[in-house]
């Protein structure tokens, strides 16, 4: 079968002289990889980079004719991020935590992240404006605000992190339960999730709400996660998902404390198998030194207290917070090994690959450069067992993995790493190779007719590490794992058409703006020309 490309799109056929042909026989051809959740740009990521010279100094990228120099490891510099994704055949990546006040920063970094298409999710679950409107039941005004935020910050999806907990963290507090009341705001996390879910539906956003649950990283939190998924059950229409629970591994913990800690993957998987309104991504652990960074300030403070490692906290006025702590996942640790197991259990127990996607919540559970390893674990029981033999004994004995035979097929793998993620993001031109799709293509040097992933998992790992070719927007950017051309990727953002138009809501917003912020309204808004390649996605709202 041939795939024809013209003007950056997949077309029926191309003719004429000078047509470039890539011989991909005996290779796997997939759409370019899509990453729904990877911290690659913005204030928090950069604070992590600044914090950790020791993370970078042994992992460098030398300048070449075609590429800029940079550093890794867990928090690579912007150019390195783009190149390393492209080398793995990934062409679209979303930054999942943009503090709205600092969105200029996110976009400046995304502009310097080459090759890949990208976008960012503004953090909205603790915005004063959102909390106040939702507490008063003013869903439509909240929707107008969210629509405005997408335009003002050039955002792509509604991100909710530890709803209510981050506002409470402003005074050092947190939310312990989905029905706790947020101090000063008379609203609960449940109401925030439900409210923003309704808003998301009203606005016809391409992606669902993207939720990092309360109590993330704490034993026993799977109950809370189930509650969060249940609380929007009746907001779903048909089979369309309405909520994405991100890096679910961190939210699938059982047990009362770290001693009784255990996997809650089975319960989560059972629920997800029986419901169609939820999608998940893994947040798979890799045993390595990495950097944890989330908007979940209180969680990161707990992590600092657990490890004693250096800790950055960065609260953002009226909106959100940030925490960063370097972290090493060790296979001999009972908790870490169990976490490793939870991620894989989720991916293997949830039957439909369209519902759970491969991520490491880069860099939280491990840097994205380890995706090929995870692919090999999903595709080969033997690869999993090899890791298990070396890990903590108690964790191994308790792990469900020894009872799971399932191995992902190449098709399932393609869904979990691109098609599913593209669909969840509402990116119609990504994640497939049909006519009209963006010509973002990854070719891996691996013959699916002869290779048995179950046995040859090392081959799989190697092949997914260095794509034979990566084609981005119809241009060959990677050949044999090396960058041969650098192009600028697009930045997606959502432009919601509302009626009355969002502009009519602006005067009301301006009234409170001076009371809330320390910057002027006009200086908060990110103009479109700020994006190197702006790509608005238009939707029409029900308001």
């Amino acid at each position: 079968m041939d795939i024809a490309i013209k003007d950056g799109k997949i077309v029926e056929k191309v003719e004429g002289k000078g047509v470039k042909v890539i011989d991909a026989s005996r290779m796997i051809v997939m759409p370019g990889g899509v990453d729904i959740h990877s911290h690659i740009a913005g204030a928090k990521v950069n604070a992590g980079r600044m914090l950790r010279p020791e993370d970078h100094f042994k992992d460098v990228e030398v300048k070449t004719e075609k590429t800029r120099s940079g550093v890794g490891h867990s928090i690579p510099s912007t150019f390195t991020t783009g190149y390393r994704y492209a080398r793995m055949g990934y062409t679209t990546v979303f930054e999942p935590a943009q503090a709205p006040l600092k969105s200029r920063h996110t976009h400046e970094e995304l502009n310097d992240t080459p090759i890949i298409d990208k976008g960012a999710y503004p953090l909205l679950g603790d915005c004063w404006f959102v909390l106040e409107r939702l507490a008063k039941g003013m869903i439509e005004e909240c929707a107008a605000y969210v629509a405005w935020t997408m335009r003002a910050t050039k955002g792509y999806a509604v991100k909710i992190v530890n709803p209510g907990g981050l506002e409470a963290w402003g005074f050092g507090g947190n939310m312990r339960n989905i029905d706790d009341t947020v101090p000063h705001f008379n609203i609960t996390p449940r109401e925030i999730v439900q409210g923003l879910c309704k808003v998301n539906e009203l606005l016809h956003m391409p992606h669902t709400i993207h939720v990092h649950t309360n109590n993330l990283g704490k034993p026993g939190n799977y109950v809370n996660t189930l509650e969060t998924m249940k609380c929007v059950e009746n907001l779903a229409h048909g089979d369309k998902p309405v909520i994405h629970i991100t890096h679910c591994q961190f939210s699938a913990f059982k047990g009362r404390d770290w001693h009784t800690f255990a996997s809650g993957a089975e319960e989560i998987a059972r629920y997800v198998n029986n419901h169609s309104h939820v999608t998940l991504d893994m947040g798979q652990i890799v045993f390595t030194e990495t950097t944890t960074m989330t908007a979940d300030g209180p969680f990161q403070f707990i992590l600092y207290q657990l490890t004693g490692n250096k800790w950055i906290n960065g609260d953002v006025e009226t909106e959100t917070s940030t925490g960063i702590v370097p972290f090493a996942y060790k296979r001999k640790s009972y908790v870490h090994a169990t976490q490793w197991s939870i991620g894989l259990e989720l991916a293997l127990l949830i039957k439909d690959p369209w519902k759970i996607y491969l991520t490491t919540d880069h860099p939280n559970a491990g840097p994205f450069i380890y995706y090929p390893k995870i692919i090999s674990w999903l595709m080969s029981r033997r690869a999993r067992e090899k890791v298990m033999r070396k890990m903590n004994k108690r964790a191994r004995q308790k792990s469900l993995l020894s009872t799971i035979d399932r191995e992902y097929t190449f098709y399932e793998m393609a869904i979990a790493t691109r098609a599913g993620q593209a669909r969840a993001l509402g990116l119609r031109h990504k994640g497939h190779l049909g006519l009209g799709a963006d010509a973002d293509i990854a070719i891996y040097n691996i013959d699916p007719t002869s290779v048995e992933p179950s046995k040859d998992y090392q081959l799989i790992r190697r092949a997914f590490k260095h794509a034979a070719y990566t084609v981005k927007g119809g241009e060959i950017v990677v050949k044999n794992g090396e960058i041969v051309k650098s192009v600028d990727g697009k930045t997606f953002w959502v432009d919601v058409e509302t009626s009355p138009s969002v502009d009519e809501f602006v005067p009301r917003l301006k009234q409170v703006f001076e009371d809330y912020y320390t910057v002027q309204y006009e200086n908060y808004v990110v103009p479109e020309h700020y994006l190197a390649v702006s790509c608005p996605v238009h939707t029409k709202a029900e308001i």
């Binding site: 914090l51 950790r52 010279p53 020791e54 100094f57 490692n309 250096k310």
Partner: protein, 274 residues
């Protein structure tokens, strides 16, 4: 078997010569060694553009002795990650000598630059002259990569932040030291035979620091425990008496700081507390 390197000229730009180690020399011919790459500023050069190379080379690192004659105070990272053999520098040497060294021996006739033996894991470094700042230190920001083994002996003075984030091993300074000796130290031993400019053991959580000379003061976050008549360090007995302080209590530290009683009359009031 001895290889002799002599700089062909005085260097103005920083020269980075990680390749000058018994490990990378072992089993090579003089010609091959001459072709090893070094950096002078932003220009990559071969070793023999900057140095004359002669002598005999052993097959294994432990059979290689590198002798450097002349002023190499602009030459950095000599002996990086060396595991065996010997390097002798007859003259002053630049930054990062013996960085991440694992084994073997380095001897310097003259002075050594800053970051001497930083991130060192094993082996011995001896400097007849003075050393700069950050002796046996970690790389910036890496609490887990401080010196983790080996011995550094400095016969002259050393600068500030000696033993920063040190985890194991021993550093001896026969002269004086600057400030913040053993800052953030986790374990290991530092002995200063001369005077200290103060703030020794700042934010240390463990390990031992001995100052045989004078100190301007002791940090308020060290509490006096006892007066000891002597201290034993790796079999060597240091005659006291010493005040023994514990700290840094700001870090809930268990570090031990021994300060000579004889050289520090101004600390006498501490005796009322023991």
């Amino acid at each position: 078997m001895v290889v002799v390197l002599r700089p062909k000229r005085a260097f103005k730009l920083p020269v980075e010569a990680e390749c000058i180690t018994p490990d990378s020399f072992a089993g090579k011919s003089v010609d091959e060694i001459g072709k090893l790459k070094v950096w002078e500023g932003n220009r990559e050069r071969s070793l023999n553009e900057l140095f004359s190379v002669e002598g005999e080379i052993g097959a294994k690192p432990e059979e290689v002795m590198v002798k450097i004659f002349g002023d190499v105070h602009k030459v950095r990272r000599i002996g990086t990650q060396m595991s065996a053999g010997e390097i002798v520098v007859h003259g002053d040497v630049g930054f990062h000598l013996g960085e991440e060294m694992v084994g073997g021996k380095i001897l310097v006739d003259g002075n050594a630059g800053s970051w001497l033996g930083s991130m060192m894991k094993g082996g011995v470094i001896e400097v007849k002259g003075d050393a700069g700042d950050y002796v046996g230190s970690a790389y910036r920001g890496s609490s887990t990569r401080g010196m983790s083994g080996g011995t550094i002996v400095i016969h002259g003075d050393a600068g500030n932040e000696l033993g920063y984030y040190m985890r194991k091993g021993i550093i001896k300074v026969h002269g004086n030291v600057g400030q913040f000796t053993g800052v953030h130290m986790k374990n290991g031993i530092v002995v200063v035979y001369g005077n200290s400019e103060g703030r020794s053991g700042a934010e240390m959580t463990g390990g031992k620091i001995v100052v045989c000379g004078s100190v301007p003061s002791v940090l308020p976050t060290f509490t006096v425990e006892a007066v000891k008549s002597r201290v034993k360090i790796n079999g060597e007995k240091l005659a006291g008496p010493f005040y023994l302080f514990k700290g840094d209590i700001a870090e809930e530290g268990e570090g031990k700081l021994y300060i000579s009683k004889a050289s520090n009359a101004h600390l006498k009031s501490y005796e009322n507390l023991v």
